[in-house]
Amino acid sequence: MIRFAHVFKSYPNGALALKDVSFAINKGEFVFLTGHSGAGKSTILKMLFAEQRPSSGDVRVASYAVQTMRGEDVPKLRRKLGIVFQDFRLLEDRTASENVAFALEVTGARRDTIPARVMRVLTQVGLAAKARAYPRELSGGEQQRVAIARALVNDPSILVADEPTGNLDERATRGVFQLLREINTSGTIVVMATHDLDLVRQTTYRTIEMREGAVVYDSAADEKADELT
């Protein structure tokens, strides 16, 4: 589903954001992307939804080749993805259900199907009761759940989460993480960038660690190495 092969990313000012990054993520995987700020996590995530394109190398996401795809295909790719950010990125002047419905409306979904689909995902993230609340009336954890619901409403095959728990307290963090695990259980790939190492250590999910634009550790590779030895 996702494959990076010898990916380099350099910026016009000469800074090198990614150095020869290669990895593959298969269907149903849950992958942590760790590393310090500026290590290249965000660049990798942005390439996943074609916000950035590699300078060289091959990035494939859900059958799209990101480095060569046409601009008009980018929205099509994004509809197959769900994207969650650290700062939630909700519209303050719309209710939780409207925020979720927004994602359906802008992708041209049939209007009569929207309310049912919105309620289904809100129920899935446990916020059916707060469908009519505005973001400012919700706690951080609840807002992130709305954002996740919005990401899920298009039934994506990949969920990209950039520090989804970065702004949350410990209890909310656990709730949101639990939710992401449940989503993964139903077959969706979850790629989650985080520097919350406690969260990483709690589970046995695959971890890719970045440092200065390069992959310095990939637990899958270790497993392979383990298998080899």
Binding site: P75, L77, R79, I83, R89, E105, V106, T107
Partner: protein, 560 residues
């Protein structure tokens, strides 16, 4: 599609002020474009009219023989540049002036002598309507000895072409500039909304909205704003158009403001005014309608244009004022003349005198100067009339005083003989209860009044208009204290009601009672006369109280 419209409208709802401001800005810039368009359109129409009338007009000296004119016009018609020559006689000139110079229609109508000159209107052939050819023809025409004046547009003919071309180019440039402004304004407002909604747009991109989907509402919003602004501009332009259409091309034919000016007795300047007006009328006619364009077209700068427009406006105002003044002077003199004539017929009865009068009347009609004299005479007459009226009133009062004195002496004597004084028959209890001495309308009121001839007088009573010979009834019983002629007031009957109260019946044709006679309420005292007065047949009726003080009779008489 539905969603597209909803999103576009949403932005209007979200930022109504911004939307309104940008729509207004667009409207005004488009309105400016439209305004220039209107101006250009009007200018083009005006210029087309002007162009058709490019001609040389030669004004002829008065009394030029018709044969000479015919010969000359044939001569001129044979010039290579000339298309045709038209002779306009003095009478035709007047007719033309009345028709074309509408603002001065009244002035031209009232002329007693036609002051306008005859003229030859020379139209040039199509290829020769430029400045050089026009000037050449004008110079040659000026060479004829009987040509008094030659008029033609000088510089402005050349300017005409220039202006027409320039108007097009300038209109286009300015239109384009303001069109660009409209585009920039729309762009800026859209940019503002985009910035305002940056977050929303980012989210839309992330959830996979296509670019067209994101842009659609903005484009639609821009289009809506443009359309609304355009409609507003259209409405403004239409309003401006209807506003100015009524005002005419330069607002010169606006309603003539006729103030019925207060009567001024100093009319010595009538002759002078008449002369001034005549000169102006000739001048206006010679210039014709195109003068306005000529003056405005030959300007060097915008400032000059404005000042010339102002000058034109003021001149036309002044002309109209002049016309109004002369008219009112003329009317007044007519009124004075009537007055004078009436006085004369009264005074002069003999045949010779009448003949002399007729002779003088004849010259009076012809000669304005004489009318001036007549006016002055009339003014003196008015004064005389006034002083006579006052003198007569004073005389009446003294007569009444004498009668009062006599009565009080008698009463005193009677008292001395032990006879009780008779109670007065007229008291303040009668206020508003007395019957009218004669039925009729009030022709002048008690107190201060302006005479038809312009003098101011204080009437001691009221004038009641009624046909001559109508019976006049006493308003209350009493003694006839006086029957006699009191100057201009004519035959007078004074009835004494005791306690110093009198009722006076004046301007009578005949008296039905004698001095010393007793009368009862409603008894006939005489008949209405005064047919020769300014007011026609009427009764002059007064009520006097103690010490001969004049009281307002309307207060005493029954209300009608």
């Amino acid at each position: 599609m539905n969603l597209l419209f909803r999103e576009a409208l949403l932005s209007f709802r979200r930022a109504p002020l911004l939307s309104l401001l940008s729509i207004t800005a667009i409207a005004f810039s488009l309105f400016t474009v439209g305004l220039f368009g209107l101006v250009a359109l009007n200018l083009r129409q005006a210029l087309r009219g002007v162009e058709e009338r490019v001609e040389v007009v030669a004004f002829l000296l008065r009394g030029t023989a018709p044969e000479t004119i015919t010969l000359a016009s044939q001569d001129i018609a044979s010039f290579p540049e000339v298309a045709d020559v038209k002779f306009v006689s003095e009478d035709q000139a007047l007719v033309q002036a009345r028709r074309e110079l509408v603002e001065f229609k009244d002035a031209y109508r009232d002329l007693q002598v036609n002051p306008l000159p005859a003229s030859l209107e020379i139209r040039l052939k199509d290829g020769f309507r430029d400045a050089a050819h026009v000037a050449g023809v004008a110079d040659r025409v000026r060479g004829f000895p009987f040509v008094e004046d030659v008029r033609y547009g000088r510089d402005w003919i050349a300017r005409l072409d220039q202006l027409r071309n320039m108007a097009g180019v300038v209109g286009l440039i300015i239109g384009a500039a303001f069109g660009l402004i409209a585009v920039v304004i729309i762009g800026v407002t859209i940019r503002l909304t985009i910035m305002q909604r940056a977050r929303e747009i980012a989210i839309m991109r992330v959830v996979g909205a296509t670019n067209w989907f994101i842009r659609g509402p903005f484009l639609l919003e821009g289009a809506l704003k443009g359309i609304l602004g355009g409609l507003m501009a259209l409405a403004l332009a239409f309003a401006a158009y209807t506003l100015f259409r009524g005002a005419g091309p330069l607002g010169l034919s606006s309603q003539l403001d006729r103030n019925t000016a207060e009567l001024i007795l100093a009319t010595d300047n009538l002759a002078e005014r008449n002369a001034v007006l005549e000169r102006r009328l000739i001048d206006i006619y010679k210039r014709g309608q195109l003068y306005v364009y000529q003056v405005l077209l030959t300007v060097e700068s915008f400032g000059e244009l404005v000042s010339r427009y102002k000058y034109l406006y003021l001149t036309s105002q002044q002309d109209r004022q002049l016309v109004g003044e002369v008219e009112s002077l003329r009317n007044r003199i007519a009124a004075q003349r009537n007055n004078v004539l009436e006085v004369r017929t009264q005074l002069d009865r003999t045949k010779e005198e009448r003949e002399a009068e007729l002779k003088r009347y004849g010259t009076l009609v012809d000669e304005r100067a004489q009318r001036m004299q007549a006016l002055k005479r009339s003014a003196r007459n008015t004064e005389q009339q006034l002083s006579t009226l006052e003198k007569d009133a004073a005389r009446l009062t003294s007569l009444l005083a004498t009668a009062d004195k006599r009565r009080s002496d008698e009463t005193a004597r009677a008292a001395a003989r032990g006879v009780a004084p008779a109670a007065g028959s007229l008291t303040t209890a009668d206020l508003g209860k007395l019957d009218w001495p004669v039925q009729g309308t009030i022709v002048y009121k008690f107190g201060r009044d302006t005479l038809a001839s312009g003098g101011v007088i204080r009437w001691n009573g009221i004038g009641i208009g009624a046909p001559a010979g109508t019976l006049v009834k006493a308003v209350e019983g009493g003694n006839v204290g006086l029957v006699g002629n009191v100057g201009t007031y004519g035959l007078t009957v004074a009835v004494e009601h005791g306690n110093g109260y009198w009722s006076l019946y004046m301007q009578l044709q005949s008296a039905a009672v004698k001095q010393g006679e007793k009368v009862v309420r409603g008894q006939t005292v005489g008949t209405v006369g005064g047919a020769n007065s300014d007011y026609g047949p009427h009764l002059h009726f007064e009520i006097r109280g103690e010490n001969q003080i004049a009281l307002d009779p309307t207060a005493w008489l029954r209300r009608r």
